[in-house]
């Protein structure tokens, strides 16, 4: 349970010295409770206070970092099981598994996926390279190095693929249960701080040393959830706590069960040794079945996959998957917003009719979609309305005649646009008169209350 602001306040020096950059100790305490300021920002906290707070504010799930520089990503750190309770902390990462025989073909396709969607860069963050049939979930604790296809030719191909992947400018997941081979791979990719996956009940000590030596996070797996728990505890005993749990490859059903049970044990039952991010490898769960992989990936975005590795990712798969992830990892208290500005639709130019709505992304998507369907050229004017829906923005004073007036003058719309008809949302019809006053020369028309009426309305309007 997170600490309340007042509990934190009681531990502050209560001097309002402002050394933390916040005007009062109370404001500081509230910001710490909210998570927007770190407790360390106060230089005057006593050691006892820091210790007390550190214990109480430690999340039930570790925040683990992989990658380096601008390609460093945080995983885990979650405090809730459902996003309506509080926002999820770390969005999941997507990875694509590169294999020696197909890397040449797959890599350029994967790299092509790189676009922006509502202020977020969408790309495959991780490249996964595995050694032999390696990994851990499917090894049943049988040790390493003696894998059927772990011959030296495979080793060379594996290292060659690691080299190619490392050169691609993405963070790597190196999966290898053979510490010797893993060391060679790490040598090739160490600067990018890859995730080393492959610790299991029989090799964990060796792997832990290796991860420690290269300063990388370690992926750990076992044939079942009990084995995972035991192996993690053993690793923790060695002081190795920079971990990611591989939920296994026995079957999709078991991987899903593990992902859920591990997350639930950590958050609901405070089982600290399961409080680590997860990794799920769909190429192992549904080899060569891109549709099933897409379906499973969608499930794991909602239910507790921190790293989701796929056998490949086409642009067509990326579009919905990244959109889904963007949705699920939004803060329920802070809606997604779009940039204020003029959005021409259906090839609208300066003489096209204008319509305005709020910058809440969902509203924007719905309205722009309907306007598009109407086929009528229209300039959609998006003003900053605090990211609220129309009625809420209006009630909060974020959408008003004055706010529109300010927006029009900031954007110079009276000069940029020739048309003088402005459609306003039906739900704020009450603003019509005021807007007429604040935007002289504009003909204010009230549009329908609901988006479903837009197509018909636009067609009639332009008829």
């Amino acid at each position: 349970m997170a600490l309340k602001g007042l509990d934190i306040f009681k531990l502050t020096p209560k001097t309002n010295c402002k050394d933390c950059g916040v005007p009062t100790c109370m404001a500081f305490a509230m910001k710490v409770a909210q998570g927007s300021v770190q407790i360390g920002a106060c230089p005057h906290m006593s050691d006892e206070a820091l210790a007390a707070l550190g214990e109480a504010t430690a999340p039930p799930m570790k925040l683990v970092k992989i990658g380096a520089g601008e390609r460093e990503y945080a995983l885990g750190g979650e405090t809730v099981l459902f996003r309506h309770e509080k926002a999820f902390v770390s969005k999941n990462l997507f990875g694509v598994a590169l294999k020696p025989d197909s890397a040449e073909r797959v890599l350029p396709e994967v790299m092509k996926i790189d676009y922006e969607r509502i202020g977020e860069r969408m790309h495959v963050e991780l490249l996964h390279v595995g050694y032999g049939g390696s990994g851990n979930g499917d090894m049943a604790g049988s040790g390493n190095g003696d894998m059927a296809d772990g011959g030296s030719g495979d080793r060379a191909a594996f290292l060659d693929t690691v080299r190619k992947a490392a050169a691609a400018g993405r963070t790597l997941v190196i999966e290898c249960g053979d510490a010797g081979v893993a060391r060679e791979a790490l040598e090739l990719a160490k600067d990018g701080k890859p995730l080393l996956n492959g610790a299991n009940p029989s090799n964990y000590a060796e792997m832990a040393r290796l991860a420690e030596e290269y300063g990388v996070a370690l992926g750990v797996g076992a044939p079942d959830i009990g084995g995972i728990y035991d192996t993690v505890q053993a690793l923790e005993g060695l002081g190795c706590k920079n971990l990611v749990i591989d939920v296994g490859a026995a079957s999709a059903k078991e991987a899903f069960a593990n992902a859920v049970q591990i997350r639930r044990a950590a958050i609901k039952d405070s089982v600290r040794s399961l409080g680590y991010p997860s990794l799920v490898n769909l190429e192992k769960l549904a080899p060569g079945n891109p549709e099933l992989q897409l379906a499973l990936a969608s499930v794991f975005v909602l239910k507790y996959g921190s790293i989701i590795i796929m056998g490949d990712m086409s642009y067509a798969q990326a579009l919905p998957l990244f959109g889904l992830r963007q949705n699920i990892f939004t803060d329920p208290q802070k809606p997604m917003t779009v940039e204020p500005g003029v959005y021409p639709i259906n090839g609208a130019d300066e003489s096209a009719i204008c319509a305005t709505t709020v910058n809440f992304a969902l509203t924007y998507f719905i309205i722009s979609g309907e306007l598009q369907r109407s086929g009528v050229p229209v300039n959609l004017l998006i003003s900053d309305a605090g990211g609220y829906s129309v009625l809420t923005a209006w009630a909060a004073g974020k959408l008003s005649a004055a706010s529109l007036e300010k927006f029009f003058s900031e954007q110079g719309l009276n000069d940029r646009l020739k048309n003088r008809t402005l459609l306003i949302p039906g739900k704020v019809a009450v603003l019509k008169g005021e807007i007429e006053e604040s935007l002289p020369g504009w003909n204010i028309v009230v549009a329908p209350n609901e988006a479903v009426g837009i197509v018909k309305f636009m067609k009639e309007l332009s008829a």
């Binding site: 007042l6 109370m26 005021e434 009230v446």
Partner: protein, 709 residues
């Protein structure tokens, strides 16, 4: 004079005798084994089936059923016996009709409708159950004239009431060329009173289909028909005993009978009503069966839509200007007894808009009279406050303000389209009736435009406003039995629940206890539900087990407990749409309050929006709480921590809004005069230390209070 019970039993006897004769004839003619059935039904003879729990399949079963029915009619000549005799009459009538159908599958050959198929039962049953058809009437006998017959039928049709005709009125309607049939909702059932069996069969099948009532469970049938089938009977004189007996059955089912026959008739309130003026049959009947007619359209010459809500009528465009700040204008809702109001009466008292010079300033007053069994005078101000929206949605009409500060303008365009003073009445009538359907049965509007009269009426209205304000002021949390919750904001703050009490309005400032109460009564499944307050845990900080249970349920488990009067212990949550937020200021042991409109800094080192971001979203944040402006002057404002005396800082504008009331509360609670002047604002300081200094200088009571932390 013959007693009513005697008339029922005699009438039942007549019907039974007739049935006995028919059954005997059928037995002789067709044989005992001859099949008995009604076409297109899976419910056999539905009346027999319903009352006896038996399927009648052949003539001999019909005869056995008849002897049972006969017993029903041999009971004591008292109320229960009379009801049974009524049901026996229906069974006998059904037997008579069944014999006809045993001889021919279509005994009426299209001249009369006779038996209704199951499909017709479903077709008519659905709108009856949903209320789309508000009810049905069975008209028996002949109206005084053919014209009156048709007028009555059309009157019901225009109110969407389904009409069944029996006897003479059918011929009257035909002579007037009235279009009849299922699609136009007027059905000529049959020439004789025993044809009523088809209607009762319909009702009983509806109960079995829509109410899942089991055959033989007569009580369940009575219950269903009384509560779900809004039917009634109009019987024209002369009303013979056999019709009286059928009427007894109808009354037992909950269907009142209205008749113009006063001879040997014994009125029974709400059940058997004598209305000698047949022109008033409709009104009398609807009232007796509690049928409300929905108002679906507003009869005005201009458009009506929320799209016109924000329209401004400029001086140059206006035809009429009624301004409460310059002349006597007002609007008022008053509740009355049902008999005092003629529904939909709209009266203009004084000159109309066209009698004044274009653009001239005139005055206007609206008195909206409402009546209804569930109406309460506490709803009056709730309706009244909506007049602004109601009138503003008229194209070309602008309305601002409320009570006696209204300002109304009518545009030239609206005037040219024919908009006149009475149309205000049409709008108010239609909106009040439709929006408050569940409590308003009748509504009439009076529109006053004579200045002298308005002066007088406005003074009277002011008295009413004052009385209401006093009532609101005298309501305390202790003086009421229930609180209300409000979950209007859950769409964007899913875990938040407001508990609204007389002394603590919703944190948005828009939902008072009376509003919540009205919302609840008007829409029992809506966002405001009653919260009992019987299991008190701690009255001082405001904990009730009932309240906690509701909070748990309405927050879907995310909140366990709230206190109503503390901001330190489990304070009420905030959704994000609060008018103000208060937060403790630890150095003075007081609280700082800041309203949404204030965008400057506070001595807490946080602005409104910073504080709001930490408090919203339905999360309990001890020491911080969102609330309405009016709550500041409430004696319950952080009562657990000492009340409003804890307030140390407020923006100047907020002080001006709530100052007078807050001073009053402080004088009453603490005997302090001019408390507001002891509270700092942004013109004094935005700094915690300077605040403390100021409080010392102003002699603020908080300095003598217990520490908050």
């Amino acid at each position: 004079m013959k007693l009513l019970f005697d008339r029922v039993f005699d009438g039942a006897g007549e019907m039974l005798a007739m049935a006995e004769k028919e059954i005997a004839a059928a037995t002789a003619e067709l044989g005992e084994a001859a099949p008995i059935s009604m076409p297109n039904t899976a419910y056999s003879l539905a009346c027999h089936n319903a009352y006896l729990g038996k399927q009648i399949r052949n003539v001999s079963e019909l005869a056995r059923g008849f002897s049972e029915a006969k017993e029903w009619a041999s009971g004591e000549r008292r109320l229960g016996g009379a009801f049974n005799a009524g049901f026996a009459t229906f069974m006998a009538a059904e037997a008579i009709e069944a014999c006809k159908y045993a001889r021919s599958p279509d005994p009426y050959g299209g001249e009369y409708h006779g038996h209704m198929s199951d499909a017709e039962v479903r077709e008519l049953g659905v709108p009856l159950v949903t209320g789309d058809i508000p009810g049905f009437v069975v008209i028996i006998g002949s109206a005084p004239s053919d014209e009156e017959a048709v007028e009555l039928i059309r009157g019901y049709q225009s109110r969407a009431i389904f009409v069944f005709l029996i006897g003479g009125i059918i011929g009257q309607a035909r002579r007037q060329n009235l279009n009849m049939g299922f699609p136009v909702r007027v059905v000529a059932v049959g020439p004789d009173i025993w044809c009523a069996a088809h209607i009762i069969s319909f009702v009983n099948r509806a109960a079995m289909i829509f109410g899942a009532v089991k055959p033989g469970d007569r009580e369940a049938f009575d219950h269903y028909t009384f509560h779900r089938i809004r039917a009634f009977v109009n019987a024209f004189r002369p009303v013979p005993d056999i019709v009286v007996a059928s009427g007894g059955g109808a009354i037992a089912m909950g269907f009142p009978v209205v008749t113009d026959d006063a001879a040997d008739m014994w009125p029974v309130p709400k059940s058997l009503i004598i209305q000698q003026n047949t022109a008033d049959f409709i009104e009398t009947s609807l009232e007796a069966r509690d049928i409300k007619i929905k108002v679906s359209k507003i009869d005005i010459p201009v458009a009506y839509s929320t799209a016109f809500e924000g329209e401004i009528v400029r001086r140059a465009d206006m035809r009429a200007d009624m301004d409460g700040s310059r002349s006597d204008c007002f609007e008022l809702v008053v509740s009355k007894e049902a008999h005092e109001i003629e529904d939909h009466s709209i009266e203009l008292i004084g000159p109309d808009i066209d009698e004044a010079e274009p653009g001239a300033r005139t005055s206007i007053g609206f008195v909206c009279e409402v009546a209804g069994k569930a109406m309460q005078s506490d709803f009056e101000p709730v309706f009244e406050r909506k007049f602004h929206n109601f009138i503003n949605c008229v194209e070309g009409v602008m309305h601002t303000g409320q009570r006696d500060t209204i300002h109304i303008r009518v545009s030239k365009a609206a005037f040219d389209a024919g908009f006149r003073a009475r149309h205000f009445g049409e709008v108010l009538y239609a909106k009040v009736k439709s929006e408050y359907e569940s409590v308003v049965d009748k509504c009439a509007v009076k529109i006053y435009t004579v200045p002298e009269q308005l002066k007088e009426l406005r003074a009277k209205a002011t008295e009413i406003y004052n009385r209401r304000d006093e009532r609101l002021g005298s309501l305390t949390d202790e003086s009421v039995d229930v609180f209300y919750d409000c979950i209007l904001c859950q769409s964007f703050s899913p875990a938040h629940v407001c508990i609204v009490t007389p002394e603590r309005l919703g944190l948005c400032g828009a939902v008072s206890w009376l509003d919540a109460k009205a919302t609840n009564e008007l829409d029992a499944n809506g966002p405001c539900q009653r919260v009992s307050k019987q299991r008190v845990v701690d009255e001082n900080i405001g904990i009730w087990e009932d309240v906690n249970e509701r909070v748990r349920e309405a927050s879907h488990g995310s909140l366990e407990q709230v206190t109503l009067y503390s901001i330190m212990v489990d304070p009420m949550t905030s959704c994000g749409c609060f008018e103000c937020i208060c937060g403790i200021e630890p150095f003075s042991n007081g609280v700082v309050i800041v309203n949404r409109e204030h965008d400057g800094m506070t001595p807490l080192g946080m602005t409104f929006s910073e504080m709001a971001s930490m408090t919203g979203g339905g999360v309990q944040t001890p020491g911080f709480m969102g609330h309405g402006k009016q709550f500041i002057s409430s004696a319950k404002f952080m009562k657990a921590e000492g009340g409003p005396a804890r307030i140390v800082w407020m923006p100047k504008a907020l002080k001006e809004t709530v100052g007078a009331k807050l001073n009053g509360t402080a004088a009453r609670l603490y005997g302090i005069d001019d408390f507001v002047s002891m509270i700092a604002d942004e013109t004094v300081t935005e700094d915690a230390e300077a605040l403390l200094e100021f409080l010392g200088g102003s002699g603020h009571p908080v300095l003598g209070m217990e520490p908050l932390l």
